[in-house]
């Protein structure tokens, strides 16, 4: 039994018991099966599929009619590179090493020994391709056979937003005479913001390639524009002209993403793969609005998820209430191909996937076993250290903010946005913000946040200090710690403890207290 020191005894009995979710399988790889995985960039629920009646997404809508639509899917981490690493490894960011963004000075990479989906597939005789935004490293861990990404020297705007070019690359990949089954990963850069890096194209690059003077022309794109007055403002965004303007621009790029999906699904059909190919659509993290991306509130953590299987047509067009996570995608793909889940050692710790295949949900709505998801966050930009751990079940969510004494940081991209500047300026001048919280509360958070989603879907009332919820709090703390343990979380003792796990503590890792409250 592990000894987590004084103050940790409540958790002792459950620690270092490895989760045993999966047995190693011994199937042979399926030979007539392929996977097409679409990942939107900061995409949310602004689609007809998720009951947004304004933003036009006919292609996602058509895909949904051949899919199970997950109504309660969540990202493992609300930050781009870490999320993509979780999608492609089945491991939370704190376990695969991708603690923050990959690009520029942020420079995070997964551990060299990580057995990622493309690596496993390659070893199993599956051809792998990636088109668009990649944003994970190192190359040796995330190696695809066919790669047209920003890390291959292509401008991210071209491979991620020029849907004609993306279609052409998809055509090239799908035209191959290589007889192996394949996985093709399409990383749209839409509907990511762009005011931060390419302001000439608008706040969301909604003008890029629209045919206006100086904007270039994406041949296959029929731009759809929206009236800021008609957009649907999510409850966690202030209803002001600035935010509405941003949302209208975002809708335009969501329409582009939607048309891109249509183009690529058409290529799949023309290549004759529609009836062999599992198609998935999701996003990396919440939308880039206040309380969204980089947060693990539901506004940053909930994700769209469509799973379309030609081998599981019985629930096409149905919705599922199963709580799914982006760490379920790797086991789903492996299950689809009949490939055993990886089981290995990393940094001297056993690694086993904690997600589960979504395929059974395509056959029937589960009655048990799909009621809890977890999430974790460490950094986004390298200067934004804000580790959080989350357990979310059908009713409650617990967030553990580990650097909560410092203010929650704002990223470069969001800071410069009209929406955030509007919040900042309204706050400064004492005007009504029309937001559901104050910037001060947004910056300074308690160490523990407990929300009752049944009564409070917007997560406005923290119940962590309410005695009536003491046992809920205690159970969820224990649960999140058990998950941290099962996923070899280096932050398992944070913030007030020091993890000792070598020498005398090699066999009984222990959280030792700093006694910071002296």
């Amino acid at each position: 039994m592990a000894n987590f020191g004084e103050g940790w005894d409540v958790f002792c009995s459950v620690l270092f018991v490895l989760l045993a979710l999966h047995d190693v399988r011994s199937f042979s790889p399926q030979t007539k099966r392929n996977v097409l995985l679409f990942v939107g960039d900061d995409a949310g629920f602004e689609t007809q599929v998720y009951n947004n009646t304004v933003c036009k997404t006919p292609h996602l809508d058509a895909l949904a009619k051949r899919s199970v639509v997950f109504k309660h899917a969540f990202t493992s981490v609300s930050s781009c590179s870490p999320s993509r690493s979780a999608i492609l490894t089945g491991l939370p960011q704190h376990q695969n090493g991708m603690y923050g963004l990959e690009n520029s000075v942020h420079h995070f990479v997964s551990f060299d020994g990580v057995r990622s989906l493309p690596v496993i597939l390659k070893q199993s005789g599956i051809r792998t391709g990636i088109i668009g935004k990649k944003h994970v490293g190192p190359e040796s861990v995330y190696q695809f056979d066919y790669s047209k990404t920003e890390l291959d020297g292509f401008p991210i705007m071209q491979v991620g937003r020029n849907i004609t070019l993306m279609k052409q690359f998809a055509h090239e990949f799908l035209s191959s005479t290589d007889p192996r089954p394949f996985l093709l990963y399409i990383g749209f850069h839409d509907p990511h913001r762009c005011g931060h890096t390419q302001p000439q194209y608008g706040q969301f690059c909604e003008k890029f390639g629209n045919g206006d003077p100086g904007m270039g022309k994406i041949p296959d794109w029929v731009p759809t524009t929206y009236d800021p007055g008609e957009v649907i403002v999510p409850g966690f965004v202030q209803d002001t002209p600035a935010a509405r303007g941003d949302l209208a621009a975002q809708y335009t790029t969501i329409s582009r993403l939607d048309q891109g999906i249509g183009l690529i699904l058409k290529e799949l059909e023309l290549a004759g793969y529609t009836d062999d190919t599992l198609v998935l659509y999701t996003s990396d993290n919440g939308i880039p609005f206040p309380n969204g991306r980089t947060n693990l509130y539901d506004s940053g953590m909930a994700e769209p998820l469509l799973v379309s299987s030609p081998a599981h047509t019985e629930r096409w067009g149905h919705e599922s209430n199963a709580m799914a996570s982006t760490v379920d995608l790797t086991p789903t793909v492996l299950d689809w191909f009949g490939i055993p889940y990886p089981d290995y050692t990393l940094n001297r710790e056993a690694v086993r996937l904690t997600g589960q295949s979504l395929l059974p949900v395509l056959q029937r709505e589960p009655s048990t076993g799909w009621d809890t998801v977890y999430a974790s966050h460490n950094l986004h930009e390298v200067t934004m250290y804000y580790p959080m751990r989350v357990v979310r079940n059908r009713r409650y969510k617990l967030i553990h903010n580990m650097n909560n004494l410092a203010p929650f940081n704002i990223d470069q991209d969001f800071y410069i946005s009209n929406t955030f500047q509007d919040l900042l300026n309204r706050t400064r001048s004492g005007q009504p913000t029309h937001w559901f919280k104050t910037l001060k509360d947004y910056y300074y958070r308690p160490q523990w946040e407990l929300f009752d989603h049944q009564a409070d879907p917007l997560e406005t009332t923290n119940l962590a200090g309410d005695r009536r919820y003491a046992s809920v709090l205690s159970d969820l703390k224990e649960q999140v710690l058990r998950w941290q343990n099962a996923t070899n979380d280096p932050w398992i003792c944070a913030p007030w403890g020091v993890l000792e796990n070598s020498g005398l503590y090699k066999e009984k890792p222990t959280c030792m207290p700093m006694d910071n409250g002296l």
Copy 2:
């Protein structure tokens, strides 16, 4: 002129003016010159050279008689991997990307585009070798021709503490018939603590290889043991039996390091290179005691530094008061070989060395220009986020603690030590600690710390809030910010600002205020 936003105007006038310390040189590489660089691991001033009359270091003493002894040398960062990266690149950790430890889950690496000393030397026809502890990555950046390190599969205990084996590897390297000049880097693992990982060998691995039952035998080592009652307790360490016991153990391993230096200098002599070889000795960071390693107080930042040049015998045995930094080592070695300093672009920013060659100091004591050093720290273990920036001149030191609202963290290695446990237990039980500060003050630090070294060498009185020092504070703030700018510091706007440096701000990077004090 850069605009660093509201509250930053005091610094505006000096920002984004690049330091122009060095002209690119056009010398041809010297062909009869070599370098031997010794790096101790957590080594401090417990040597006869630095007036410690107890710890026996005859070989360092002999080297000092052929050296200039720097009395005011400082590390660029008080953490192992970051410091080694600064030594081997001439760039502070925040500029080369090695923000924390390289090993295990910490997993920091320098940017792929960094032009390190071994890379530059290799391109200039210099043969490079490394024996012992390396602890930096990636391999492509820190590639040596000859490598016997923990990253090559050797046990760190063997290549870093077994001085007979280290001698044999040095012999192999020095016996090569390769006619190229060389740099040989010797990374001792002594006198690093070892109670954390290998407690069977004692707190500092002082028993490893001493011939006692089960301890093995290092043939060339004559162990020296010390009475805890006779050790000299530094002013920043509590004078208690526990700390004295640790210091006595540390002395034993310092003696082993000293004998290792003697063995390798003997190999150099036998190979006939003594009269061609620049020999340097320093350490990576302060000693692993309270207020030492991972701190940028002088107790963590001041370093031993010996520079022995056969071409500059005029000041052999002299002391220098020049303030030197470990980022001066790369320019010193390049200067010795007559190789131009690197000048390139990294993450779209110009990179130029900000250190300076120490060779002129070997000829005469400088009267100006060696009065200021800088240091920076981000993390040590990945869970220990505590960015600090420091400017230190002859009289004053300013420390900017950027995550000071959170407690300063204790690392796994030091936490478990007898010395720290003694402090913790004494604090808990209300006994006198015999320490010069409280644990509470150690954990919780103000954002700015200003010390007057003339009046207060132990840095006990923070003058940052003292109005009499307002202009000193203001000048030093400006100076440290200018240095952050010259070294492309991603933390230049931390903790309360967001750096915008692309899109509209590409040509005028700007710190934008979060207004966290709302």
